[in-house]
Symmetry: C2
Subunit: 325 residues, 2 copies
């Protein structure tokens, strides 16, 4: 492969001149620049990005930390984040944390060693310390404190819509599958849902899923166990995958959906539109969550003010798992 020295030799100039010409820095006559570009083209010269990175102290890599890359919410989020980063000229490095102890810490250390320019984190901050890094971090749906910008869905709105759907559908005893992170904006969804259910005298049965345990297998197993244990409920509110697990377990027990049991999912990933009946659910706006996260990251990198509103509205998807009047 041709190097910068080969280009210099062919163009009949020094290596420094080639470097200036290709980086667009410093004065070079038009004639010399042309000679150099022709030489680079003739030799199929590819500049070594490693040298450029060292010079700029920048890699154009953004790290994405997620608990699980296979889970439909995170898979879809990653798709949109990657696309959005590409639009701004950034490359996307991924790290899934669920299966390996202490990976969050290792990944943050890479930020310190300049492996990437910033991190978008969809996982909790490891340990209790503040992230000590000079490079920017943006979180998605996780509260890292310390003034770190957090982009998240309007979960209070999500809890409210779900509760209204349950009430209008006439549910009297509802199973609520939830999970609880430290200071997570997610709490809002649970809090508002509980308040409205309770204010209207609807009985609530609650089951807590492990926070950050995001596999299909875990969700389906837990859903099945809960549906068997609380077989007298007439409504269920749970994340998409859990909601499918509940529906499967109920159908297997001979129940009819929505006649005997009404189900409302949360997330609104693609899988909710894949079955008959389709799942009634609260949809998080994944493209917008990704867009605002990346805009915030880019603003931090460029030292500019970032979007003021980091809370993204959710919307209702009316599916066949609820009786609509």
């Amino acid at each position: 492969m041709a190097g910068i020295k080969d280009v210099a030799r062919r163009a009949g100039v020094g290596v420094g001149t080639v470097s200036r010409a290709l980086n667009g820095s410093g004065y070079i006559s038009e004639e010399t620049r042309k000679k150099i570009l022709e030489a680079a083209k003739a030799l199929d010269y590819q500049p070594n990005e490693l040298a450029k990175n060292l010079y700029r102290n920048k890699t154009d890599f953004i790290g994405i930390m997620m608990p699980n890359l296979e889970h439909p919410f995170f898979a879809s989020l990653l798709k949109h984040l990657e696309l959005e980063l590409y639009r701004y000229g950034y490359k996307c490095m991924v790290c899934s944390t669920e299966d390996i102890d202490n990976r969050e810490r290792e990944f943050l250390d890479m930020l310190k060693r300049n492996v990437m320019d910033g991190i978008i984190a969809c996982v909790d901050l490891p340990g209790d310390e503040e992230p000590e890094t000079e490079r920017p971090v943006v979180t998605l749906e996780r509260n890292w404190g310390g003034g770190i910008p957090m982009v998240h869905s309007d979960h209070a709105m999500g809890g409210k819509i779900a509760a209204q759907v349950m009430l209008e559908a006439g549910c009297r005893k509802v199973l609520h599958l939830y999970s609880q992170g430290k200071d997570s904006p997610f709490e809002q969804r649970h809090r508002v849902f509980r308040e409205i259910m309770s204010a209207h005298g609807v009985q609530l049965v609650e089951a807590e899923a492990e926070w950050n345990h995001m596999s299909y297998g875990y969700d389906l197993e837990m859903a099945r166990r809960c549906v068997r244990q609380y077989s007298d409920v007439d409504g269920i509110f749970a994340s998409d995958v859990q909601a499918f697990g509940c529906m499967a377990a109920a159908l297997e027990m001979g129940k009819r959906v929505p006649e005997d049991l009404q189900i409302v999912g949360y997330d609104g990933t693609e899988i909710t539109r894949m079955t008959y009946p389709t799942l009634t659910c609260i949809c998080q706006d994944l493209p917008r969550l990704a867009q605002v996260s990346v805009q915030t990251m880019v603003a931090l990198l460029e030292g500019k003010p970032y979007p003021e509103d980091l809370v993204i509205p959710v919307a209702l998807q009316k599916g066949g798992t609820v009786r609509w009047t």
Copy 2:
């Protein structure tokens, strides 16, 4: 942040000595090494990986090219690839190609510029040319020719098992949704399935999906159209997402699964175990596909021989969408 000069000053040695001590290259007395490590620790010195990368001409990044990061097959594959790369000390950079023209070409150019050490590609080679790179490429389920190692499932076995299931279930007219890549190992699945169906006098109706068009929306729309158009079939063989789309459309038309219509999926991703009935399907061994791809990549990077057998067996998952006798 402390730099290498600060460490040298604190330890009372030269910068070159610090560099040798931290890289483990060249002779340094035990006493000096200890002094340097203590200074580095006291200053919380983080070596700049950009300098190390330039020195080694290596980044420990492996690029993963996929058509779509949200599709359940690729999302699951990415999860396993990332985990496997981590085991070997490699970082994972992703690129999805479906939504942007010519991204494959751009990504390959990054390999030339040393942004990463190698590429694992789950997409077709852009254009007709051979990839001209000195760094290794491994493909997954895509044939790039030119001696590039290709890891893939045993699709001939997959086609055979699917055909046997259809025959044993007594299907007489089968809808076969397929897609066709250039020289893809995938063809085997279609070829063997057709041959066995035809040898046993089963009528085959075929619909071709666009190759590399991997979104849920496209698959579900196509499935619905086909089920309406060929409403008299008694069996369907299609990829997981398409199979779900077919099942939903059939149920919506009042058909019963498996009494009126038997369905066999292909891929065996997590979504196939999420519903009632669960999907009967041919499961690709995603952890093993990832493992062998990464082993092959690491062998190429280290100049060692790579695994001889790059064809991974598939297995039958007996679900409720087929009548078992």
